[in-house]
């Protein structure tokens, strides 16, 4: 550890975190260029169109990360109640003329000068702060009760529901609830409840899937049911709902163990639409193979491990839970994204942190990393 070698340094700064973040972001840039250059040339006549936009967003994000790392996180604890109205305002802003509909979903806000972001990202950050603060405030005895836990997670659940219903973004809503769930899981002593509720949720999901499979067909049911059918047998729906999934699987299969080589993906040539977004991991698999994909997964794990050390040693509980929230956010998104790409779960739009193309996602991820650094700065070394 950097801190151990330099005895005089008062603050704990783990540079390996920043290196792994920048490594992931760098790989992301390369893969965005690889996957999007073909389409960008067609659409904009500039192969580096997406690359440039992502690099600019990354640079801005990096500056924000530095700023947030210098701000003492403890002030958020005092301001945590503002996160609720801020989240609500952000969510409902999409209904105003600021809201922008992209691909049929009104989940974007246009704040002018060409900058557009998803309020869901803000809500995620707000709910991390809110939940962390609530865990600290509630006290251990309250947390251990069902009602106490519910009191903490009720607001994230409402926010998740609003994000789902108002901004038509189920996956972000699910992530918000998921982050809060992980945070209360860590906060409580109890395992049983979580194990049972986990098993219960799995059974419920299985039952629901079974029900849909028995009764529904693609033509008559809604798009979510259709997605589940396509998930169960993507090749049967290869020309419709299963198209993206099947193409992603083809890409993974085409990549093999060592990949086709950087830039050699064939699937990015139009077969996987907007491969630089949610499906970028399939192109990573195709170009870099199982080996490359495993290295990236390992990098995420390393980042999460390092962050958990920060949380473990955080100077106060609020700081620790802020970092746990960030860990949960990254871990859930990475898992869900790769699970979608490998067809472990039904197709839903979740981006791969630091790697997928998307300015607002990158910006808020860097801000979250800024929080992690802010927390780690306060770890006192003797």
């Amino acid at each position: 550890m950097a801190g151990r070698k330099k005895e005089k340094v008062q603050h704990y700064y783990d540079y390996t975190i920043i290196i792994s973040v920048l490594l992931l972001f760098g790989i992301g840039l390369i893969m965005i260029y690889s996957t999007s250059s073909y389409q960008a040339t067609l659409d904009y006549g500039d192969a580096a169109y997406y690359l440039k936009k992502q690099a600019i967003a990354g640079a801005i994000g990096f500056v924000f990360m530095l700023i947030f790392s210098l701000i003492d996180y403890r002030i958020y604890r005092k301001l945590f109640l503002f996160t609720v109205p801020l989240s609500i305002i952000m969510i409902f802003l999409v209904l105003t003329p600021l809201g922008v509909t992209v691909k049929g979903a009104r989940r974007w806000l246009d704040v002018g000068i060409g900058f557009r972001f998803q309020p869901a990202e803000v809500v995620k950050l707000c709910m991390i702060i809110y939940t962390a603060a609530m865990v600290c405030i509630a006290g251990q005895k309250v947390i251990e009760t069902f009602v106490g836990t519910l009191k903490i997670v009720i607001i994230p659940m409402i926010m998740g529901a609003l994000v789902w219903k108002i901004t038509d973004n189920l996956s972000s809503g699910f992530i918000i609830v998921g982050i809060a769930a992980v945070m209360v899981f860590v906060a409580t002593r109890n395992y049983k409840v979580y194990i049972f509720s986990g098993i219960g949720a799995a059974l419920l999901a299985t039952g629901l899937v079974y029900y849909i499979k028995q009764t529904a067909n693609v033509e008559s049911s809604g798009f979510r049911a259709a997605r589940i059918l396509a998930w169960l047998d993507p090749e049967a729906y290869a020309s419709g709902k299963g198209y993206q999934t099947v193409q992603a699987l083809y890409a993974i299969g085409n990549g093999g163990y060592f990949g086709k080589g950087l830039g050699e993906s064939m699937q990015k040539l139009g077969f996987i639409p907007e491969a630089q977004n949610d499906m970028i991991f399939s192109i990573i698999c195709e170009e870099m193979g199982l080996v490359g994909a495993s290295i990236i997964i390992f990098l995420f794990l390393f980042l999460i491990f390092k962050c958990s050390i920060v949380a473990y040693n955080a100077s106060d509980m609020f700081g620790g839970f802020l970092v746990i929230g960030v860990i949960a956010h990254i871990a859930i998104q990475v898992f869900l994204n790769i699970a979608v790409v490998t067809n472990l779960i039904p197709n839903t739009g979740i981006s791969l942190p630091f790697i997928s193309y998307g300015g607002s996602s990158i910006l808020f991820l860097f801000i979250e990393m800024g929080l992690v650094f802010s927390v780690s700065r306060q770890i006192k070394l003797d």
Binding site: M1, Y12, R189, G253, N254, G256, P273, S308
Partner: protein, 746 residues
Amino acid sequence: MPKNNISNRKMMPHMRRKLATTTGLVMLAFGALCLRIYAINRDNGDKYTRQVLSQQEYDSIVLPYKRGDILDSKGTTMASSEKVYNVILDSKLAGVDEKTIQATTQALAKCFRLNASELTKYIKDNPTSQYYILSKKLTYDEIASFVELQNDTKNNPDIKGVWFEEEYIRVYPNNSMACDVIGWTDKDFKGHYGLEEYYDDILRGTNGREYGYLNEESALERTTKPAVDGNSIVTTLDANIQSIVEKYLEEFNNTYKNAYRDGNGAQNTGCIIMNIHTGEIMAMASYPFYNLNDIYNTDPLIGTTLLDVNGKAQDEVITEDTLKRLDTDTKYANLNNLWKNFSINNTYEPGSVSKVLTVAGALESGKISGNETYFCGGYLEKGGHEIHCHNRLGDGMLTVKQAVEKSCNVALMHIGEAEGKTNFLQFQQLFNLGLKTNLDLAGESRTASLVYNEKTMGEAELATSTFGQGFNVTMIQMISAFSSIINGGYYYEPHIVSKIISSDGTTVKNIEPRLLKQTVSESTSDKIIDYCNGVVTEGTGTTARPAGYAIGGKTGTAEMAPRTKRNYVVSFMGYAPANNPDIAIYVVVDRPNAAAQDDAKYATRIVRKILTEVLPYLGYPMTEELSEKEATELEENKLLLHAPKTVEADANNGQENENGEKVTNEEGTTITVTEGSNLTEGIQKEGSEPTLSPEEEALNAQEEEWKKRLESYEKDPETGYLIEPGTGLLIDPQTGALVEGDSYME
């Protein structure tokens, strides 16, 4: 990790444990993801790789190249490629919802006369089909109405899933014109026969490719590697001359078909017109023709001799009934024969036209001077054979010029004897007989084994070779050699393409005339021109002369093997204008449909008709006075209009020579127009010289004997034919030929 030194007042131990548990769970979950990726590759890696490759092919479109055009020397298009469109239906896109299905099928039904309900059924039954060809090879005009509807996205936002695949078709705007020269392409645009085959590499381009897909909004998104179009070729053909030639070949057929036997006017009728100064082919045609836009049409086969599967001629003429019963293979064998270019593919014994070559060779080798005199008594014994002149009565005393004019076999045998076998064969090779001319057309025959060499040529073979029997040639060989003899001795490689141009019109390559060798000297050339002019003015070729013009040439009547069949190839090989030749013309009529085929007039008449139109077209002024009959004939055919200047010049000539029988043209050469000249008249004058050498005395003795023999012939009271003593064969007193067809060997 300095854990113990860090303040841990706030993070409780159970939280740290749970944090560690959570991190561990994340590791497990991520590990599971890696396993999942591994499992996908292990279980389906190969299958998915194949899928990727197959859909890559599936979703990329070949952009067809445009095969180059074939143009004539004036820029007339003889072959071109036209873009056509296949209508493709993509059910996946057209079937997204009822509204789209309805709008799309209705638009299709309206524009392409398709059944809307059938289309709807197809889309619903095959929702994943992305490539269903609705209609093929439509022109742009035919798809324009649909494209308009499709592009009008305001009014028709729901027309989706229809696109047009581009393709080219080969089009020959003049149908059958120059079919043998041009050739055709198959569905893969591979050239077959003629220019299409020979210049396949030049005309061919490279296909481009369009990689693309239809995105979620059903918009076409594509990237394009454009096709490289083929180069075009400019030929030396002149479509006008070509059509004149073809008109008269067809007219000949119409005149003589079914005249004596069933079938066409001749087995084959070919014509080549060549620029003698460059070797450029101006026209090349052979009847029967076929339509290049409809090559498998068997109608042109009607009237030709039936071939079996192996291409062997049968004793039957193809009729409509024959076609009905023919199996595919036999039909194909016959079509194959039809597609061949007679002018370069078929070999035949040239007959008397090759006497020009013999005389030129003998003159050039110095073995004769041109001042010799020969005696023809109707036959000569050579190598143990009695070889006849086609005039069995004998031509009497002949100069070299007269020998050519009268096409005397006996005189030519004497000349060949003087020249000798070695010289004869040397010149045959110099004239390129037995060798390919390397004309730039596919399908030229090899004739190396069809001519004699030192070993195979005996006395009799040399004798018959002098008058063009016993060895085989192609038309292109003959006219190329002939052109060199009359142009001063320059043998040009015959060629038909003068320029290669790229698809954007820039010149890629100019093909210059290629002088290969000197065959004869200028003086020999001049002598031959003099002899050949004589053939047309007073010899066997008078009927080849077009009204108002002086030309030269040589007739040919070759007897085909087996000699007993009395089958002939008659021909005329000539040039114009007579004194300063520019173009050569060669017409071959293979087995004319007549009782007596051995009459070169079948060929000379075609030549006359062709030149009557071609010479004014090429801008040659008339040099000869028109007889009243000729003038009316030209007037009727409106051919005088082609050469108004000529009429004036001719009128002047006419005034000056109003009473003269002979017309002197500008060059001062005297040209006598004699028709049906008497056999013996001119000969006696030339034969009686005052001082006689022993050889000449011997000749005179032969002549005396011959005259006596002539008197012994009796006249058949009914027909007026002479009866040959001993054999009883009937002989035409005018030509000296056997009535039922001549044979030079018994």
